[in-house]
C-alpha cells in the first residue's frame, strides 16, 4: 500500500465535499421535522412519501429570509440544493440554495397571504410611490440578456441620450431571486434616474421570484424610482405592485421613458412654429402699418399737388386780371387827360365869340402891345381875320 494515498478523515471529507459540489440537484419532497436552531438556521428532512426515503436539509439563516417561502411540516416543496457531508458528525445533508412551493394552489395561497401582509404595511399605496422623471437620463435595466424582452426594449427606446446601465439577471423561477437582488444591489448606488425591471409573461409559478418578499421590499426601498414591465397572466406580481410604476410590456416601458422627450420635442416644434408665425405676423403688421402710412401720405401729396395746380391757375388769372386792370386804368387816364386837356384849350373859347389877336406872332394882351398901322391877325372860331390897327 502506497502511503501517499492515505489521507486524514478531514481531508477526505474536504475532497468528497468538493466533488459533491458538482452534484447539485432540484429535489421534490415533503418538509418534515422542521427545526429552527438558535443560530437562526433551519433544519428539516425532505421526505419522499412513496417509500419514506429522506434526506436531511439545512437552510442558512441568510438564505431563508431571501426565499420568502414559509416552511412548515407537510409542505411540499422543490429545493435546489448541494450535497455536503458535515464534518463534525459525518452525516450527509443538503445545503439548500432555493425553495419553491409546488403547485398553483399553494403558490396562490402564499401569494394572497403575502399580498395582504404587504398591503397592510402600506407598501403598495400610491402616496409612497416616487414619480418617474419626465426626462430620465441614467437608466438602470435589469432583465435577462437572452429573450425577446431586452430586444423589444432596445428596439423601442428612443435616441434621447439615454445612459443605460444594463445588468443581466435570471428572471424565471426561484433561482432568479438571488440574481435580481444582486443586480439591484449593483445598481443601488449608481445615481440612477430610474430603474427598469422587465420580464415577459408566464404562469404564477414562473413568476415566483417577482412575488418574493425580500425582493418586493428592496424594490419598495430602492433609492431611484422603479419602473416595472412585468407581464402577467392573472395576478399582478407583488414587485409590480410595490414598484413606482408598472406597465405591461417592455415596449410600454420604452414608450414611457420616451414620452417626456417626445412631448418636449412636440412642444419645441410647436413653439418654434409659434415663434416663426408670431415673427412673421409682426413683420407683416409693421409692413402693413408702414404701407398704410405711406398711402395716407400719398393722399397728402396728391392733395398738395392739386393745391399747387389750383394756385397756378389762380395766379394766372390774377396776373391776367392785374395786367388788364393796369392797362384799363392807363387807358382811363389817357381818356381823362384828353378830356381835361380838351376842356382847358383856349381855342375852345372862340366858339363863344371870343377872339385871339396876334401881332407879329405874339398874342396881344394890352393896347401897348401894338401901335397904329401894325398888321394884326384876329383868330375867330372858323379862321383868321387879317386887319390893321388904326
Amino acid at each position: 500500500m502506497n502511503s501517499e494515498n492515505i489521507i486524514s478523515v478531514s481531508k477526505y471529507l474536504d475532497k468528497l465535499n468538493s466533488t459533491l459540489k458538482t452534484e447539485s440537484a432540484k429535489i421534490i419532497g415533503e418538509v418534515s421535522g422542521l427545526k429552527l436552531h438558535q443560530n437562526g438556521h433551519y433544519y428539516f428532512s425532505l421526505l419522499d412519501k412513496t417509500d419514506q426515503s429522506k434526506i436531511d436539509c439545512v437552510i442558512w439563516r441568510s438564505n431563508y429570509k431571501i426565499f420568502g417561502v414559509e416552511l412548515a411540516d407537510g409542505l411540499e416543496v422543490i429545493v435546489s440544493a448541494l450535497p455536503n457531508v458535515y464534518k463534525m458528525n459525518g452525516r450527509l445533508s443538503f445545503i439548500v440554495n432555493a425553495v419553491e412551493l409546488v403547485g398553483e394552489g399553494a403558490l396562490q395561497i402564499a401569494y394572497e397571504k403575502l399580498k395582504k401582509k404587504l398591503e397592510l404595511e402600506g407598501l403598495f399605496v400610491e402616496s409612497r410611490k416616487k414619480e418617474i422623471p419626465l426626462y430620465p437620463q441614467r437608466i438602470g435595466v435589469i432583465t435577462s440578456r437572452s429573450g425577446a424582452v431586452i430586444n423589444d426594449f432596445t428596439t423601442n427606446i428612443g435616441k434621447f441620450g439615454f445612459e443605460i446601465l444594463f445588468v443581466d439577471s435570471k428572471v424565471e423561477g426561484q433561482d432568479a431571486i438571488k440574481d435580481l437582488l444582486s443586480a439591484m444591489a449593483t445598481l443601488k448606488n449608481k445615481n440612477l434616474d430610474v430603474l427598469v425591471m422587465m420580464r415577459g409573461g408566464g404562469s404564477l409559478e414562473s413568476f415566483q421570484a417577482f412575488n418574493n418578499e425580500t425582493l418586493v421590499r428592496v424594490v419598495a426601498e430602492f433609492p431611484a424610482p422603479v419602473l416595472t414591465g412585468i407581464g402577467h397572466d392573472k395576478d399582478v406580481s407583488l414587485v409590480s405592485l410595490a414598484s413606482d410604476k408598472n406597465v405591461s410590456t417592455p415596449t410600454a416601458v420604452a414608450n414611457l421613458l420616451n414620452s417626456g422627450f417626445l412631448e418636449a420635442r412636440g412642444e419645441i416644434r410647436f413653439l418654434e412654429e409659434k415663434i416663426f408665425s408670431n415673427f412673421q405676423s409682426a413683420i407683416f403688421d409693421t409692413f402693413r402699418r408702414a404701407e398704410d402710412t405711406l398711402f395716407r401720405e400719398m393722399d397728402g401729396v396728391e392733395l398738395k399737388l392739386k393745391q399747387i395746380s389750383d394756385m397756378i391757375i389762380l395766379q394766372t388769372r390774377e396776373l391776367i386780371r392785374g395786367f388788364s386792370d393796369l392797362s384799363a386804368n392807363a387807358l382811363d387816364f389817357l381818356v381823362q387827360s384828353g378830356k381835361t386837356i380838351q376842356l382847358s384849350n383856349p381855342e375852345r373859347q372862340l366858339a363863344y365869340g371870343y377872339s385871339i389877336i396876334k401881332s407879329k406872332g405874339k398874342v396881344v394882351r394890352y393896347t401897348k402891345d401894338v401901335k397904329t398901322d401894325d398888321n394884326i391877325e384876329l383868330m375867330v372860331s372858323d379862321g383868321i381875320i387879317k386887319s390893321k390897327v388904326i
Binding site: M298, I308, Q315, L319, F323, L326
Partner: protein, 73 residues
Amino acid sequence: MKKQNEKTDGSNLNETLKKLNQIVSWFESQSELDVEKGLEYVKEGAKLIKSSRQRLGEIENEFKEIKKEISRN
C-alpha cells in the same frame, strides 16, 4: 440764369411759384400806371406759369408712377 436739365427752366417749382406770387402782388399793389413795367412783369409771369405747369406735370407723372408701383405690390 442757371441751366439744369432735369428741371424745367432750372429753378424748382417752389421758387418759381414764389416769384409768380411776387409778380401778382406787384399788380395788386400797383397805384402808378406803369404799363411798360406791367408788360415786362406779365411776360415774366407768363414764362413762370408755363415753367411751373410743366414742372408740376412732371411731378404729377412721377408721383403717379410711384403710386402705381406701390399699388402693384
